[in-house]
Structure formats: C-alpha cells, structure tokens
C-alpha cells in the first residue's frame, strides 16, 4: 500500500471512530438534557398552578367574607339613625378588631349623597352619584371596586351593597386598605424570583408588584387580559427575563390574578447541571478525540509493520514454493541423472571386465573401448544439461527486469517436465505465434509461474492426454497471452473460486503445498499481469497468463 493509501485509511478510521463514539454521546446527552429540562419545567408549572389555585380560593373567600360582613352590618343598622354620627361610630367600632377590618364606613342614599361617615378621613357632604362603584352597586346590589385613590387620594378598595328598608333603598359602603390585598396576593409570589399581583381588565395594577410597576399604574400585561376564563400557564416575556406566568380570573372575571416566576432562576439547577454536563462533555470529546488519534496511530503503525512483514513473508513464500517445486523436480530429475550415470557406470564396468580378463590387445577391443568412451562422454554431457537446468531455475528471487523471449522460456520450462510427460504418455503441443514480441519482465519469476501451471497440467492429465501451450499477442493493449490447456479432469465449479487461495489443494497430503497457484497469481500481479482460468468438469482446464510487453513498474 502506498503512502496515500495509508493516509486515506487513517482518515477513514479516525472519522468513523469519532462518528461512532460522538454521535451516540451527543444523542444521549441531548436526550437526557431535554428530558431533565422538560420534567423540571413541568414541576415548576405544577407548583405555579397549585399556588395560583390556592391564592385564587383565598381571594374569593376574602371577597365573600367582606360582602357577607357588610351584609350582616346592614341588617343591624337602623337607617333612621344612621345620620347620627355617634350611633354609626358605635356600630363601626363594634366590628373593628376583626381581621381585615374596614378603614371606614359610610351610608349613602340612593341619590348618591353621603349621609353619614365614620373614618379617619374628612369626607362629609360628598356625592357619589357619578362614581363608577356607586353606579355598579346600584345596578348589581353589591360591588367591590377596583383600587383607586378617590377623594382621599390614597389607594383603597370600596366594598358596597344596597340595603332595603321597606321601599327605601340606601347604600352601605366600607373601604379597605389595598395593603390587605397586597398581603394576600404577595404570599402567593413568595419564593425565589417570584412575583404575584392582580391587574384589572384594563391591565391596571390592583396590587403592587415586587418589580416593574406600582399600584394603579397600567402594566405591560395587556396581552394577559385577553386570556379567557380559567387557569392558564405559559411563558410571558415582559422584561428581559424569561418568565413563566400562571393566570386566573377572580372577582367575577374583573380581576386577573397573576403569579409569575423567573424561569431562568427557577431552572437554575437545570442550567447548572447543563454547565457541568457541558464541561464533562467537552472533556469526554477531548478524550475520545485524543484516544482515537492515538489508537489510530498505533493501528496504522502496526498495519505498516504487518504489511512490511507480509511483503517479506510473500517473498519467503515465493521462495518456499520454488523450493518445493525444485524438490519435486529433483525427484523426477534424479531419474534423468541416474540413467546416464548408470550407463557410464556400466560402460566403465565393462571396460574393467575386459582389462581384468583377456586384456586389451585386439583391434576389436580397441574399437569397443573407443565406443564406450564416446558413450561415457555423451552421457556425462546429458547429465550435465540436466543439472544445469536445475541450477538455472534455483537462482534467487530478487526481481529483475530483462528482455525475455517468452517462447524460449516456455521451451526451457517444458524441458523440466518433458521426460515426466513422456513416461505418462502426455503429448506436449506448442501453438506459438510466429512474431511474438519479447517481454520486459523477470524471467525467473515468470518461469516459476509457467512451471507451476505446467506441473498442475501434468498432474491434471495424469496419463495419456495432451497439454497445449498457446501464445497470442494483443497489439492494442500490448499484452502477451500464454494459455496452458490440458485434457485433464477439469475443475469443479465449486472449487473454481478457491483455486487461487493459499493452501487450497486437491492433491493428496504431501503431494502439494496448496501454494502454487496462489503464488503464481501473486507473481503475475506483481509483474503487472493477471491469470485467468476456464474450466469445465470433465473437459479440461485452460489457465491463461496475461502479461504486458512493457511492465509499467
């Protein structure tokens, strides 16, 4: 693998490892955070609703109590004596001392004239005919007013009801300090960053909010006054702060009770958790990234080392295959060497016999001796050729580039197996292309491939058959084709995929290493070519070696 190949692999390993570790981490983190956030928010919301509801009922009870108290008072008061200040004061003082006492008490006739007044303010001889609260009281029977300053110029709430005595109608009016309302409402807003207040339909504050306004001022909550009856909880962004507000209508839908909380302050634990999580997250990411880079670096280093070792091993395998082929050849060639040796030994033996016997004196014996010596020379030459051929093949495995005549190379290779083929009655047919160009390649390695293929072909045929070696040339692609066709049993389809695998063999144990084709495949690829196989069970096989005339490497 080249340097660029390693770089690409390194990038892929890093990216996929990061992807596989960071994506689940992010998903987990975001899911947990959003669930945590949602549950916390709903807790805040529930708290707010609960508080609002308790306050609402407190408010309603308070108003009912005030009206009821006034009603009781009106039944006790004798209209004929109300103009008597002492009498009215006496009545007023009787009800004082109860919680949420009235500030003052007055009696007004149906024309709006104040007939009597008891209280700290100097409010005699005033007419309320035009006052909003008076008109409302007259039309509805009783009324609790908005907070307003009135004649006394101090914010207060009027509670009034119409009393009847016979056919005479008069109005009993009491006022309450708006602080009472403040006190009731304020409690609802107790707690961190919370606030509670009341606004009327025109969004005017009826109680003093903790921040952002005062009683009687128009608030910024106009939007809220549009909400229909019932309880509502939602986010209300008034100030820069993000607020969550719960609202409900009270006092016959005239007032809106608002309880609001600063969401950011309420959710502070969540944000604190988020911060801690973010820190841990960042540390985690840093560790993952560093870990990934480190692991990848180690992996790549090991890979490079493994590749290097594999390259060495490949060379060793090619060498061992060559040695195995050599061993096999040596066994076959022992016969070829031993035959000439036998002849030489016998000739020498014969000459000894003659010398020990009658002696060498006759012309006839001299001629016989001459013939024997010639034979000895001939057979020595024969044995020499065999051993030289073997030596030529046993050369090293260093790749060479030389100009190789493919035909010569095939012929030399055939020599190794020709006697074997002869004994087995296998015909070797050469179908050579006349003007096959010479090839730039490594002859030793190419010969090893040819020998493997021929040896396999001989083994496939076993006996009585034919092996054809055909050479062709494709000038367009600059490729030389060498096809080895045998008339053997062929290769079953199920084995066809596996024949180039290392250690795959169909030969008997001890007969083949299972490396021949695998190594041949490797050699041919290294030489820039390829090996293909065509075979049908029962119809022989054809192995075709394709090598470029000019090897690019």
């Amino acid at each position: 693998m080249g340097k660029a190949g390693y770089g690409g692999l390194r990038r892929n390993i890093i990216l996929s490892t990061l992807g596989f570790s960071l994506i689940p981490l992010f998903a987990l983190g975001l899911t947990i955070y959003s669930l945590f956030y949602a549950s916390y928010e709903s807790k805040v919301r529930e708290e707010l609703e609960f508080m609002l509801e308790s306050k609402r009922s407190a408010m309603e009870a308070f108003f009912q109590e005030q009206v009821a108290r006034l009603k009781l008072l009106s039944s006790l008061v004798d209209y004929n004596r109300v103009q008597d200040h002492a009498y009215l004061r006496d009545v007023f003082h009787r009800i004082q001392g109860l919680p949420h006492s009235f500030v003052d008490l007055s009696v007004i006739n149906s024309d709006g004239d104040q007939l009597a007044y008891v209280g700290p303010y100097d409010l005699r001889d005033v007419n309320y005919a035009r006052a909003e609260w008076f008109q409302a009281t007259m039309s509805r029977g009783n009324h609790i007013s908005d907070v307003f300053p009135g004649y006394r110029n101090i914010p207060h709430v009027v509670v009034a009801l119409v009393a009847r005595e016979g056919d005479r109608k008069w109005v009993l009016r009491a006022t309450m300090d708006s602080d009472i309302l403040n006190a009731i409402v304020r409690e609802a807003g107790k707690g961190r960053a919370g606030d509670a207040f009341i606004i009327n339909k025109k969004a005017v504050f009826q109680t003093k909010p903790l921040r952002g306004g005062d009683m009687g001022e128009v608030s910024g909550y106009v939007e809220l006054t549009r909400s229909p009856s019932g309880t509502h909880v939602g986010q209300a962004g008034i100030d820069a702060d993000k607020m969550m507000a719960a609202t409900t209508w009270v006092k016959d839908n005239e007032w809106l009770l608002v309880v609001r909380r600063n969401l950011e302050k309420e959710l502070e634990p969540v944000f604190r958790a988020r911060f801690v999580a973010a820190v841990l997250f960042s540390v985690g990411i840093l560790i993952i990234v560093l870990g990934t880079i480190l692991t990848t670096r180690l992996t790549m280093a090991r890979l490079v080392r493994t590749d290097r070792e594999k390259a060495l091993l490949d060379d060793a395998l090619i060498h061992s295959d060559k040695m195995a082929a050599l061993g096999k050849l040596a066994a076959g060639m022992a016969h070829e060497v031993n035959n000439p040796l036998s002849v030489i030994k016998e000739k020498a033996g014969w000459m000894k016999d003659i010398m020990q016997g009658k002696g060498v004196d006759r012309q006839e014996d001299m001629e016989g001796f001459q013939a024997a010596v010639d034979k000895i020379d001939f057979h020595v030459e024969r044995a020499r050729k065999v051993t030289h051929r073997l030596l030529g093949f046993a050369r090293g495995v260093e790749p060479l580039r030389e100009t190789v005549s493919v035909h010569d190379l095939i012929d030399q290779t055939i020599e190794f197996l020709s006697s074997e083929a002869l004994y087995r009655n296998i015909k070797l047919t050469r179908d050579y292309l006349d003007d096959l160009p010479a090839v730039q390649t490594d002859s030793g390695q190419l010969q090893q491939v040819f020998l493997n293929l021929l040896d396999n072909a001989v083994d496939a045929v076993e006996k009585d058959g034919e092996i054809t070696i055909k050479t062709r040339y494709d000038p367009e692609k600059g490729e030389t084709f060498i096809a080895f066709t045998d008339t053997g049993g062929g290769i079953p389809a199920r084995n066809l995929q596996k024949i180039f695998d290392p250690f795959f063999t169909t030969k008997r144990a001890g007969q083949g290493t299972g490396l021949g084709l695998s190594i041949s495949h490797g050699i041919v690829e290294k030489l820039g070519g390829r090996i293909t196989v065509e075979s049908q069970e029962g119809n022989g096989s054809t192995f075709t070696v394709v090598i470029p005339v000019e090897t690019s490497k």
């Binding site: 022992a334 035959n339 040796l341 016998e346 033996g349 016997g357 004994y423 009655n425």
Partner: protein
Amino acid sequence: MMSKFRVLMVDDEPDFLETVVDRLKMRGLDVEGVESGEKALEVLDQNPVDVVILDVKMPGMDGVMTLREIKKRWPLTEVIMLTGHASVESGIEGMKLGAHDYIMKPADLDELMDKMKKAYEVKAMHEEKIGRASVQS
C-alpha cells in the same frame, strides 16, 4: 554349485541395457534384454524366465504395470525392480505388488547378481514346495 537360470532384463535405455546384458553374459548368465514392458511380455510368452529385472520408469507400459501383468500370468517368476528415483517409494510400491526386491540406479553389478541369485533361490524353493505338494496329493 548353483544351477543356471534365465534372466530377462527390461530397460528403455539402450546403452545401459546392452552393456549390462553383455557383462552378465560374460559372467556366464543366460540373459536377454528388451526395451519395453510390452516386449518383455512377448518374450515371456514364448520362453518363460526365472528372474526379471524391470525398470520402473518407461514410456508406454511402465514397470509397475508390467510387474502386475507378470505376476498375474507367471506368478512364480521373481521380479527385481530397477528404480532411477531418488526416493524408494516406487521400489516399495513394487514390492507390495509382489516384486522380490528393488535396486537403485546406478546399480552395482555384483549387488545385482547377488539379488538375482537370491531371487532365483526363492523361486526354486517355491517350485520345489509346489512339486512336493502335487506328488503328495
């Protein structure tokens, strides 16, 4: 003194065959040489021999096939395999098929003579046993 016995030598290498046959004849043996398994069977057909020296590797009918045929048709004939192989495998294979012994090329002539004599003795013993058995029955 040993009685004279007939030997048939089978080898596809003419120079070798010719010389060995010559030298064995010089030593007074009744030897004939042929170049192939097929010819060996023809000779045996006409004139049975006592001991056959048989080369293992030959084109056409090889040594092992020839041995099989000989043992089938002339079971009493003793065969010595002559192998050029460095390995002893083919010699052993021959012995499994009934060969008396094997000898490696290049062979020593005296060793070959020894083995032939032993093979002939075995053959003679077998024939004697068979002769006695047939007389008794």
